[in-house]
Structure formats: structure tokens, C-alpha cells
């Protein structure tokens, strides 16, 4: 039986992030941000990078958090694993959430831990009735423990499983319906995964349940080839967003209306000014979407 999900009258209920562009907070930029106080919507952090007891990470995050909205975007909960998410890791997250009161918490449709330990990567799972039940239970437990709604992100994938019997959009829609969680639409991941598995990216965006989307991610990827010489894109977060992904983003915003949007750039981190410029591009697209929405109402 499907659990009735809370009625979402507007996406404020999915998270409290402003519908503006944000960027991933990198330690290289702490001082630039505190000195320049840039006009940017929000910052995202990986909570795992702030799980030490004290020190400079907390010092700078406290100062930045005092001036900007923040989002906690976890990478370590292993929600897609067969095992329940670790209760000690959920407690670490709860401690950070209590301390920093973020406007949003999100995680990935992926796994990263197994009996052997933690793999420090977002690993793939088959999508079928069995894993839908597993992931539903895990999200319910996480939301209950953290005392808030979470967003779940569509992953970049490089392999498929014979065990899969559901389409990713269908799987995520079911998860959102059954748990009341919101979705984080990573448009770069859509481009990477659909290219890797020879699907149509525009069709994926078309079918995505936009009323569940509380945040959008944009990032750069690295091109490679698979064993047969087919394109294989790697979600590297080490460069600019490509034009094809910007095009998909415009398509998504057209369908969803303005949504909090993140530029992810985690490796080969550029100067603050370059990252800020990239975020401005998303901000411009969001602004015109807001103007259009306003015109429609007026």
C-alpha cells in the first residue's frame, strides 16, 4: 500500500532555498566570499566535509551561514544500498542540521557503503520493485530521523543491470509519491546518463515530475569512450557546464518554473570570479523565468 504523501501545494514545502542560483562552497573561496560578500542566492556544502569536531571548516561555515542560505547535500548515506542507512551517520547529519539549520537537505539515489566499508563514490543500483521498496523504507527512515523532508538526486550512471525493470523517471516519481520526499534534478546527470545509455535527454526532462523538484544541479563532465567505442561521459565536476546541458536546463525551467539552481565545480576548482560568472548565467535564466511567471499572473 502506498503511504499517502503530504499535499504539496507549492514547492516551498520541499525546501526553503531561494529560487536563485547558488554554488558549491569550496574552502579555496572562503576568504573571497567573506571579503566580497557576493550577491549570490545560496551555498551548498557536503556535510561530510564538516563532520570534524571543530577547526577552520566550522569557523568559516558559521560566518558564511550567518549571511547566506545553505543547503546540505550529503554523499555518504548510501540510501540505495540493501542495508539500512547507518544510524551513526544519520546522527552526524542531525548534529549538523541542528547546528546550521540549513534551508535544504538532499542526498543521492546511489549507494556508497557495504560490509567492507565506505567506497567514497556514488555507486549504481538496479531499479525494480525490490529496490523501490528498499529505497522507500530508507528515505522514510532518514526523513523521520532528521525530522524533515529531503530531496533525492538522480545519479550519473555508467552501467546498467539486467535486474532493472523500471525506468529512472518512473522510479523517482514513485519514490517521491510514496515518501513525500522532493526530487533534485541534476540536469548534467541527465545528460551524462542518457548519453551513456543511449537514451533521449530531452524526453527524460519532459517526463520528469517537475512538481516534485525542489532544486536543480548543473555541472561539468568529462568525455570518454566505452569498450565498444561508444561515448561514455564521466560526471567529473571539473569544468564549465556545456551548451547542451544549458539547453536542457532552459527546457527544465520552462517546465518547472524558477527553481533553486546549483553550479557544482568540485575538482580543478577555478577562481571565485569564474565560478560566480557561471552562477550568473543560471541567475539570468532564472530571472527571465520569474519575469515570465509574473507576466502570466499579471
Amino acid at each position: 500500500m502506498a503511504i499517502p504523501h503530504p499535499t504539496v501545494t507549492d514547492d516551498q514545502a520541499l525546501n526553503r532555498l531561494p529560487k536563485r542560483a547558488g554554488v558549491g562552497l569550496k574552502s579555496q573561496h572562503y576568504n573571497d566570499i567573506l571579503i566580497e560578500q557576493p550577491d549570490i542566492g545560496w551555498f551548498e556544502i557536503h556535510p561530510e566535509n564538516y563532520m570534524g569536531a571543530g577547526g577552520p571548516p566550522h569557523h568559516y561555515l558559521s560566518k558564511i551561514r550567518a549571511q547566506y542560505p545553505i543547503s546540505l547535500h550529503g554523499v555518504g548515506l548510501s540510501i540505495g544500498g540493501a542495508e539500512r542507512p547507518s544510524s551513526s551517520h544519520m546522527q552526524r547529519l542531525k548534529t549538523l542540521i541542528d547546528r546550521y539549520q540549513p534551508e535544504s537537505f538532499s542526498e543521492h539515489l546511489a549507494w556508497s557503503s557495504h560490509e567492507a566499508g565506505y567506497f567514497n563514490d556514488l555507486l549504481p543500483l538496479p531499479l525494480n520493485e525490490e529496490t523501490l521498496k528498499t529505497v522507500t523504507d530508507h528515505i522514510n527512515e532518514v526523513q523521520e530521523t532528521l525530522g524533515q523532508r529531503m530531496l533525492l538526486e538522480n545519479p550519473s550512471t555508467y552501467v546498467t543491470f539486467d535486474e532493472s525493470s523500471m525506468d529512472e523517471v518512473e522510479f523517482l516519481t514513485e519514490l517521491a509519491n510514496q515518501t513525500g520526499c522532493g526530487l533534485l534534478l541534476d540536469v548534467n546527470n541527465v545528460f551524462v546518463s542518457t548519453t551513456n545509455h543511449q537514451r533521449d535527454a530531452a524526453d527524460y526532462i519532459n517526463r520528469f515530475p517537475m512538481h516534485h523538484v525542489g532544486e536543480i544541479h548543473l555541472g561539468g563532465h568529462a568525455p570518454d569512450e566505452d569498450d565498444l567505442g561508444n561515448p561514455l561521459l564521466i560526471d567529473a565536476h571539473d569544468r564549465e557546464v556545456i551548451e547542451d546541458v544549458w539547453k536542457l536546463y532552459k527546457q527544465a525551467i520552462k517546465a518547472a518554473g524558477p527553481v533553486a539552481t546549483l553550479i557544482e565545480w568540485d575538482n580543478d576548482v577555478p577562481e571565485w570570479s569564474a565560478l560566480f560568472t557561471e552562477a550568473q548565467r543560471a541567475e539570468t535564466i532564472l530571472s527571465s523565468a520569474k519575469a515570465e511567471a509574473h507576466d502570466r499572473v499579471a
Binding site: 563532520m51 570534524g52 571548516p57 567492507a116 543500483l125 570518454d224 566505452d226
Partner: protein
């Protein structure tokens, strides 16, 4: 069709066995072509990300051994010690012990102690914040009570000692001209006190007496007993200078009077 717990176990196993083919149900491409390259994206992500984590925590070991040597060593470490949890800030706790037994590094006998120094810096960086106590706090006590004082040390404090001049080696690698700095290494071993009183991690070299003194205090000995231990090793141990020193580096969090018992 394999159930997810079994399939996940097979994938987790294959991630750790680079020579093996991925599990049969993963990404058959065309006919019997297996998606080794595709599966290897995950293997590479796991290995490279953990090697990078270790390189960030042990920058001097990486600088000293070179990228290639360090990557291979880190890969072996990772195979033996997969992280126990997602807190990568504190991954690599057993690296110094591992380096000691890592055969290709046997010609660098100081490497393990240097790794211990870097680990101490890492734990100080991420350790709990606390305001260091100023030496003026001692004015609250009568002189006769000073020997019975016990010191609660700063939560970021570590004490390390080595038969090798690891503090000088570490210091040389922080200089622009590392090669020049390495020309004038002391002959004997070295010790250091590592702490983070405020934002910056500090590495203070200690002589033998000062090291014994700081160790005794941090193990809970009363001030008088710590001085005795230091004087036993170093008859010239300078009591006022060392007392001032331990406060000045920000290594003390609180003092209290021994209330009998042990």
C-alpha cells in the same frame, strides 16, 4: 535474477578486485562484450578519490615520495583499510603504521614518524575548539599548591617523538627551497608538540626534557611529578621556562588542584 543484497555484495567485491570481470548482470554491451571500461569508471573513482583524500592529509609524505610512489602506496593502504565511515576528514588514521611495514618504503625509515606528525596536524586541524588558558590563571593558586596542580590539555594537542629529525624534515618541505633546507638536518631524533589554539595548527619542536614534561602533564601527572620526570632525563631542565612555554603555545585548557585520592 539476483536479489539486491547479493548483487550489491558482488558489485562491492568486484570493485575491490581490479583483475576480475564485473558481475555478469552488469552492463552486457553487445553479445559477449563485457563493460569493463564502464565498470572501471567506478573502480577509478573509488581509488582516485581515496588516494586524493590521503594526499590531502599527508601532503609532505606525497611531496617527499613523489606522486607515483605515493599513489601506489596509498592504493595498497586503501586495499587494506577501506574507510569505515563517510567522514573523509579523518580517513588515514592507520597510515603511519602501514607505512612502517610497507616494503618499498623501507629505505625511508623516518617516513612512518613523518606520517604520524602529519596525522597529528590533521587531528589538530579538525579537533574540538577551545580557548587556551593563560598562565595568569596560576595567580589563583598559592605557591605551595603549584606542584599539585593537574593540567587539562587542549583538545587539539598531540605529542610526537622520533629517532629521526622528522620535525626538521617536515619543516624543510614547507620551505620554498626544500632541497637547501634538507642540507642542514640535525643528526639526532626530534620531538614536537602539535596544537591548534586558534585557527592555525602549530608545530613546536621540543627537546627531550620538555617532551617528557609535556607527556607527563597530558597523561594526568601533577605538575611536580611532571617536573621530576623531566629533571630525571635532563638535569638542566628549566622549570620556569617550560611552565611558561606550555602555556604560551596554547597547550593548556584548564588547571585544577589535585584533591587527594590517587
Amino acid at each position: 535474477m539476483t536479489a539486491w543484497p547479493d548483487l550489491q555484495a558482488a558489485v562491492a567485491g568486484a570493485l575491490r578486485q581490479p583483475e576480475e570481470a564485473p558481475p555478469a548482470s552488469v552492463s552486457k554491451l553487445r553479445g559477449d562484450v563485457t563493460a569493463n571500461k564502464r565498470f572501471n569508471v567506478y573502480r577509478n573513482n573509488v581509488a582516485l578519490s581515496l588516494i586524493n583524500v590521503l594526499g590531502d592529509t599527508y601532503p609532505t609524505i606525497k611531496d617527499l615520495t613523489g606522486d607515483q610512489f605515493f599513489s601506489t602506496m596509498a592504493r595498497h593502504y586503501m586495499n587494506e583499510h577501506l574507510p569505515e565511515n563517510p567522514v573523509m576528514l579523518l580517513y588515514g588514521a592507520e597510515f603511519a603504521g602501514f607505512v612502517k611495514t610497507y616494503q618499498p618504503a623501507a629505505s625511508l625509515p623516518y617516513l612512518s614518524d613523518l606520517a604520524a606528525l602529519e596525522w597529528a596536524r590533521n587531528t589538530a586541524y579538525h579537533g574540538a575548539d577551545a580557548e587556551p588558558l593563560a598562565i595568569t590563571a596560576l595567580a589563583d593558586y598559592q605557591e605551595k599548591d603549584i606542584p599539585n596542580l593537574r593540567f587539562a590539555m587542549h583538545p587539539t594537542l598531540s605529542l610526537i617523538s622520533s629517532n629521526w629529525p622528522v620535525v626538521s624534515i617536515w619543516h624543510a618541505h614547507q620551505q620554498d627551497d626544500t632541497e637547501a633546507a634538507l642540507q642542514s638536518l640535525p643528526e639526532e631524533g626530534e620531538a614536537a608538540l602539535i596544537t591548534r589554539p586558534h585557527l592555525d595548527v602549530l608545530v613546536h619542536p621540543l627537546n627531550g626534557g620538555s617532551f617528557v614534561f609535556a607527556c607527563a602533564l597530558s597523561e594526568g601527572a601533577a605538575f611536580g611529578a611532571a617536573v621530576e620526570a623531566a629533571v630525571k632525563l635532563d638535569p638542566d631542565f628549566d622549570i620556569p621556562a617550560n611552565l611558561a612555554g606550555i602555556f604560551n603555545v596554547g597547550a593548556v585548557k584548564a588547571v585544577s588542584l589535585e584533591t587527594g585520592g590517587t
